[in-house]
């Protein structure tokens, strides 16, 4: 029997990289990072650090045998800074020592002299100075300029959403072991083992087949280990390759917070026009993305922002402009939602402002404009199997929203110092990597002679339950008990060229590849079974571990079948590759079909605000979520619950702050408040099931979309504040911390 991860976690028996026994002679690496946001390196003095007993080596950019580049986009994505530093926390050197404590102490003794250069930390300021990662992108639909004249109501404004720190509790970590013949084996806490392998080969100037990267599981990632696990693994590999000793690198939490990027802050300008019935006729938006110092994934994230500019609404005339601005902060990076949440926040702000101008509830405008089947997104793709209206309606029906709204109105009428409010948040999230080539995966399945099964694929387990879903796919396809199936660590020697586990598609892509590999093995097994049962392979099926002929069980069970197959020299291993069909996108026209399908849903978020103190509770979240035919309903429900909590955190508590020099002030859990058990509301989730031919076994991706339900928390707070202070004009600046709520409660209308 194979225990699943849940058992192991509850017993403390699951292994993370830091739990692995440390080999004799293990060395520890610690980066030396830039203490300024922007400047030229004038000198580096290593003498005091090298004099520390236990220091083995200090590596600089000049010690890199291959290419000093760990990114996918631009030359500036260096492993170690050479002449220029572009953010506080940028690695300049790596100290390697006999203990972690010595490495850290010596890192503090490396003296770097800089010539400081001007730095900018704000997206709009960077834009004004012409500091961009790439030229702007524009998505458009219809004719916005013509449409304004048909509008009865036009409002303009701006919306700001802040950064979000990942706070994966397992910090960035990697261990590299030198192997014979210039090989390396690297254990890295990464969502992208394939990228870590490719970048290490690039940095060390060796072939990819010399580098084996293995990932058992991650202690949280949320996007923060998609691109930004790579540098640390490359440092460990660089040191291990050069010193021919195993080398470990591990951030502590404060270092991790200071040195790595976050969810991108966005500053957006919007203009929205509606007719007097509340139909949105035109929407114009410009997104200023704070990319940080180098490209990282910013451009892909910016693109996803554009894809989600219209969220779950049909707007006939749209012009969305997106500008990635280069600042002197650590490069911002992937975080659950990947640019989509920022777009949705801006549009909800526009709808809220329009509703205020029209003296209607925002829900009236939301409802009036929900997508319907066949209506186009701003990139030309029509909505297929559209569930926007159904989710909205089912939410109202099943969760008795009219009555709850009435109860809130009554409560507010009777209470002067506490106000409640309910806001709705419909979502529509596109599923596929928008870089089309990433939509592929491989699986390698072995059936052993004892009937047990091993599955390798490119999916990294980070709490989303992908291993359990893969087991389900394999068990169902082979017709056997899930207990027989083990999903292996994610390893580049078994699976080549794997895409990151990201974009919510880990189980879609790898599940489909697993299904195909299992089918291939099954084909051979059916031939053997037909011989045993006296029929044709087409008449054979395997159900509940029993060979069936025309659907009727025979005497042959799984163990006997596998044994016979082995003895008759039938293949019991198969590799399969899956590529998502029909996805494409033409960036010259900004048109295409970038997504295999969309996930829909709608949430009602209820809050209560203490109008004396500004403190608040998110009391209840009710959701109808478009889940397809779930591979594991409990896992999917957990993903929805967790996504909501994280999204509410982004919108309410979590405020990332820097000082005027670009130094992170919120670098511990004392200064950076994330949701705890007390904060977490009651969350009721109802799934809208249904077919989804676009994903494995009609399931639907679930990792990212629920985060965006949290946006409803912001607007519920805004409504509650206005119930107390009707003159307050919201500035649409998230997160809505209790401090901001208190100010808003007593701010005069202006």
């Amino acid at each position: 029997m194979h225990a699943n991860d849940t058992d192991l976690h509850a017993q403390g028996a699951s292994t993370f990289i830091d739990d692995m026994p440390e080999p004799a002679g293990l060395l520890h690496a610690c980066p030396v990072v830039s203490g300024i946001a922007h400047g030229l390196i004038e000198s580096i003095d290593l003498n005091d650090a090298l004099a520390c007993p236990g220091v083995v080596a200090i590596l600089l950019a000049r010690d890199i045998p291959g290419c000093n580049n760990i990114g996918n986009v631009e030359a500036g994505e260096v492993l170690l800074a050479e002449q220029e530093v572009v953010y506080q926390g940028q690695p300049v050197a790596v100290v390697v020592a006999e203990s972690d404590a010595v490495a850290r102490r010596a890192a503090g003794l490396v003296r770097i002299c800089y010539k400081e250069l001007p730095a900018v930390f704000d997206a709009r300021a960077a834009h004004a100075q012409g500091l961009h990662i790439a030229p702007p992108r524009i998505f458009s639909l219809g004719d916005v300029d013509q449409a304004w004249k048909d509008c009865d109501v036009i409002v303009e404004g701006s919306a700001v959403s802040g950064a979000q720190e990942h706070v994966y509790l397992e910090t960035q970590v990697a261990v590299a072991y030198p192997l014979e013949n210039e090989g390396l084996k690297v254990f890295s806490a990464t969502q992208s083992p394939g990228m870590v392998q490719r970048v290490i080969a690039r940095v060390l100037d060796c072939a990819m087949n010399r580098v084996e990267v293995d990932v058992l599981r991650l202690g949280g990632a949320f996007g923060g280990k998609e691109e930004q696990a790579t540098g640390w693994a490359a440092m460990a590999a660089l040191a291990a390759g050069r010193l021919q000793k195993p080398v470990k690198i591990r951030m502590n939490q404060g270092e991790d917070m200071r040195w790595t990027g976050k969810r991108h802050p966005y500053d957006s300008d919007f203009k929205i026009g509606l007719d007097k019935t509340g139909r949105i006729l035109a929407y114009e938006v410009c997104f200023y993305q704070n990319a940080g110092a180098v490209a990282d994934l910013s451009l892909a994230i910016l693109e996803r922002t554009l894809f989600h500019a219209g969220n779950s609404y049909f707007i006939p005339n749209v012009r969305a402009t997106a500008i990635s601005c280069r600042t002197h902060l650590p490069p911002n990076t992937a975080f659950r939602g990947f640019g989509g949440p920022q777009a949705m926040f801006a549009l909800e702000a526009a709808i809220f402002k329009a509703a205020a101008a029209m003296h209607v509830d925002p829900a009236h405008i939301q409802r009036r404009n929900l997508l319907q089947e066949g209506q186009p997104f701003p990139y030309g793709m029509p909505a297929e199997n559209c569930r926007a209206q159904r989710c909205w309606q089912q939410l109202h029906d099943r969760f008795d929203l009219p009555r709850r709204q009435q109860a809130i109105d009554n409560f507010n009428a009777g209470h002067s110092l506490e106000k409640k409010a309910l806001a709705l948040m419909p979502i529509c999230f596109g599923i596929s990597f928008t870089a089309t080539f990433l939509n592929q995966a491989s699986a390698l399945v072995h059936v052993y002679a004892d009937g047990s099964v091993s599955v390798s694929c490119g999916a990294v387990e980070m709490g989303q339950g992908v291993k359990e879903k893969i087991r389900h796919v394999a068990a169902r396809t082979l017709g056997i008990d899930k207990a027989r199936i083990k999903v292996e660590s994610t390893n580049t020697a078994r699976i080549a060229n794997m895409s990151p586990t990201a974009a919510s598609v880990g189980s879609d892509l790898n599940g489909q590849a697993t299904l195909l590999a299992c089918q291939r093995i099954l084909q051979g097994l059916k031939t053997v079974a037909a011989r045993l049962a006296g029929g044709e392979p087409e008449q054979i099926s395997i159900e509940q571990e029993q060979v069936c002929l025309d659907g009727r069980p025979t005497a042959t069970g799984w163990n006997k079948l596998v044994s016979e197959a082995y003895l008759s020299r039938t293949p019991l291993s198969a590799h399969a590759h899956y590529a998502t069909p029909k996805v494409f996108f033409d960036r010259s026209t900004e048109r295409g079909r970038p997504f295999a399908y969309h996930v829909y849903g709608c949430a009602a978020v209820e809050v209560a605000v203490d109008c004396l103190r500004g403190t608040y509770r998110v009391t209840d979240v009710s959701i109808v979520h478009d889940g397809g035919r779930s591979l594991a309903p409990d896992i999917d429900r957990g993903q929805v619950e967790g996504g909501v909590v994280q999204g509410l955190g982004w919108m309410t508590l979590e405020e990332v702050r820097h000082d005027g020099q670009g130094r992170l002030l919120t670098d511990s859990l004392t200064a950076y408040k994330i949701p705890d058990l007390y904060f977490a509301p009651d969350i009721a989730v109802e799934f809208l099931d249904g077919d989804n031919p676009a994903a494995v076994m009609h399931s639907k991706a679930v990792g990212e979309p629920p985060l965006m339900y949290g946006i409803g928390g912001y607007f519920a707070l805004v409504k509650a504040i206005r119930a107390f202070n009707p003159d307050w004009q919201p500035g649409f600046s998230a997160p809505m911390t209790p401090e901001k709520v208190l100010l808003a409660l007593y701010e005069c209308g202006c």
Partner: protein, 156 residues
């Protein structure tokens, strides 16, 4: 040489008196079920029991653990309440990434041993120092209530 009573057995460690208990457990005794999270008693991933009290091992010097009964996640199933907590954790599928979960199980067990019928306020007070970034809080609350034999109620 310091003797620590861990999971019912004496263990000798040759470490300075101010060594965090977490280092002794993880690095010297190989008990890696207790996790290193923040190192500052802010996340709860390193929660163990000292004489039944939930304690952050990352900021507890081994000198403060001498003559106390130290229980870690590796042995919590030998306690009747701990066993029930683990069973509820499995029944409700609480863990996601799992990193915080040994600490959550230890904190929940300590709560339920002290208050077998905790109120929501008791649960808030006992568990709010154990951070879960995956957001498994609704299930943590439900699992605690299941052990206590309480029905899930809507928070007021």
């Amino acid at each position: 040489m310091t003797t620590l009573n861990i999971n019912g057995k004496p263990h000798q460690v040759d470490l300075p008196a101010d060594t965090p208990l977490l280092w002794a457990l993880r690095d010297h005794l190989g008990l890696t079920g207790t996790k290193f999270g923040c190192g500052m008693a802010l996340c709860g991933a390193c929660t163990v029991h000292l004489d039944g009290e939930p304690t952050r091992a990352c900021v507890t010097p081994i000198s403060a653990a001498i003559d106390k009964k130290i229980v870690t996640i590796e042995a919590i199933d030998q306690d009747a309440t701990g066993k029930k907590v683990q069973e509820a954790w499995l029944a409700l599928g609480v863990p996601q990434c799992g990193y915080c979960q040994p600490g959550q199980v230890m904190a929940a067990t300590a709560l339920l041993k002290q208050k077998p019928q905790p109120t929501d306020a008791d649960i808030d007070a006992a568990m709010s120092g154990n951070i879960c970034r995956c957001g498994t809080y609704p299930r943590i609350r439900a699992a605690i209530k299941q052990v206590a034999g309480l029905k899930k109620e809507t928070k007021s």
